[in-house]
Symmetry: C2
Subunit: 225 residues, 2 copies
């Protein structure tokens, strides 16, 4: 289904109904279709067995929808915004979690390098919990996008970066998250204006990319608030 | 395999070798077994097909090990420690992520209510990335454990709690994380000494339990550092 993606489960589909996304069709159990019946959407009542065929979940949750991937968002960023950019992010769960974090902390968009995971993959859609329908997602050549928006500071996480507890974070900018295994790529490293780290107090080698993003966004908002 | 659990992949098995956990047997591809040969452990060279039979991963990573679940840890907590307790935590990925966060921020242990997910489940072992071998895990009747350790403050997260950016967190205590869908249970609510919240700046309804735990532990350490 080129240009289409699957949204699964009661909660996500209801958030989709209230979004600006174009919905192609909805397939729900008869109870669900009666409850949310609307003239605006093409809704089909299906049996539990038919729903199971359409769903990627072992235990489908009442309904799935087919939506259209939105047209690419403008890559000109606001000079006063807070953004998250991901360099070669691989894991669908991390991508969804990061989109949800962006929505919680009011980021302007999440930008993915072109070789990152596809955010319209059902696992990303699930883990984003509806935030995918509210937060603009941009796929871009990251070095190009950063140089087109070079008035924005770029914050990158490094093991030897300055502690986020003692460094002053900028009033606006782009938080750059590296690949899960290899961190921030070489081509991008030179475009990082501020190298930071999350202090460690134990023996873990690293934090999960989603958790690190949450900690960094929270500390950024704390300093600005 | 009652009392036994599976550890999968090169990195996790190597961390297991350096832990105090009892290892029953190791099954690795011949190259792995030659590389890490040791008199102290029973190591078996297996074919890729045999490894695939033993592994829960679609693409097994060189080796799996069978380890023994450790004897229960003492439930008497240190009055000066930082702890994480989870009330009916369901998701294996969240449990592993929280154990890894505990290891990063130097928590004394992670305590799970008895009806939480089994941390010796292969998905938890995977997502904990070796931290399961370093951080003590306690399964306990949570209300009983909290009242046995009632000199420790209990920090609970609530939508209407005081902002962690303006509240003063205690010098030691237990961070209590609620169930993914239902939050902190009623029986425990009365034992919470400090109700806090992570401020929201956007429209997401909630944060993932692992991400919330990371943000809270980071802010706690920041205030104490």
């Amino acid at each position: 289904m080129y240009g289409k993606f699957l949204v699964e489960g009661d909660k996500s589909v209801r958030e989709l109904l209230h979004s600006v996304f174009k919905i192609d069709a909805i397939y729900g159990l008869s109870g669900w279709v009666e409850r949310y019946h609307s003239q605006s959407f093409e809704m089909h009542a299906v049996s539990p067995a038919e729903l199971a065929e359409l769903s990627t979940h072992e235990q489908p949750d009442e309904v799935v929808a087919i939506a259209s991937v939105p047209a690419p968002t403008d890559t000109k960023l606001s000079p006063s915004g807070l953004y998250i950019a991901c360099d070669r992010l691989n894991d669908p769960g991390n991508a969804g979690t990061i989109i949800r974090i962006a929505d919680w902390f009011g980021a302007g968009a999440v930008i993915f390098s072109e070789n990152s995971v596809d955010v319209y993959n059902p696992k990303v859609v699930s883990s984003a919990k509806g935030s995918l329908f509210r937060i603009p997602v941009i796929y871009a050549d990251l070095p190009g996008l950063l140089s087109d928006n070079n008035t924005l500071a770029v914050i990158g996480t490094y093991m030897d970066g300055e502690s986020i507890y003692s460094t002053k974070l900028p009033a606006s900018g782009i938080l750059l998250i590296g690949n899960e295994a290899n961190g921030i790529g070489e081509e991008l490293a030179g475009m990082v204006s501020q190298r930071v780290s999350i202090p460690a107090f134990g023996k873990a080698e690293s934090l999960n990319a989603g958790v690190a993003t949450g900690i960094l966004m929270s500390e950024w908002r704390r300093q600005l608030s």
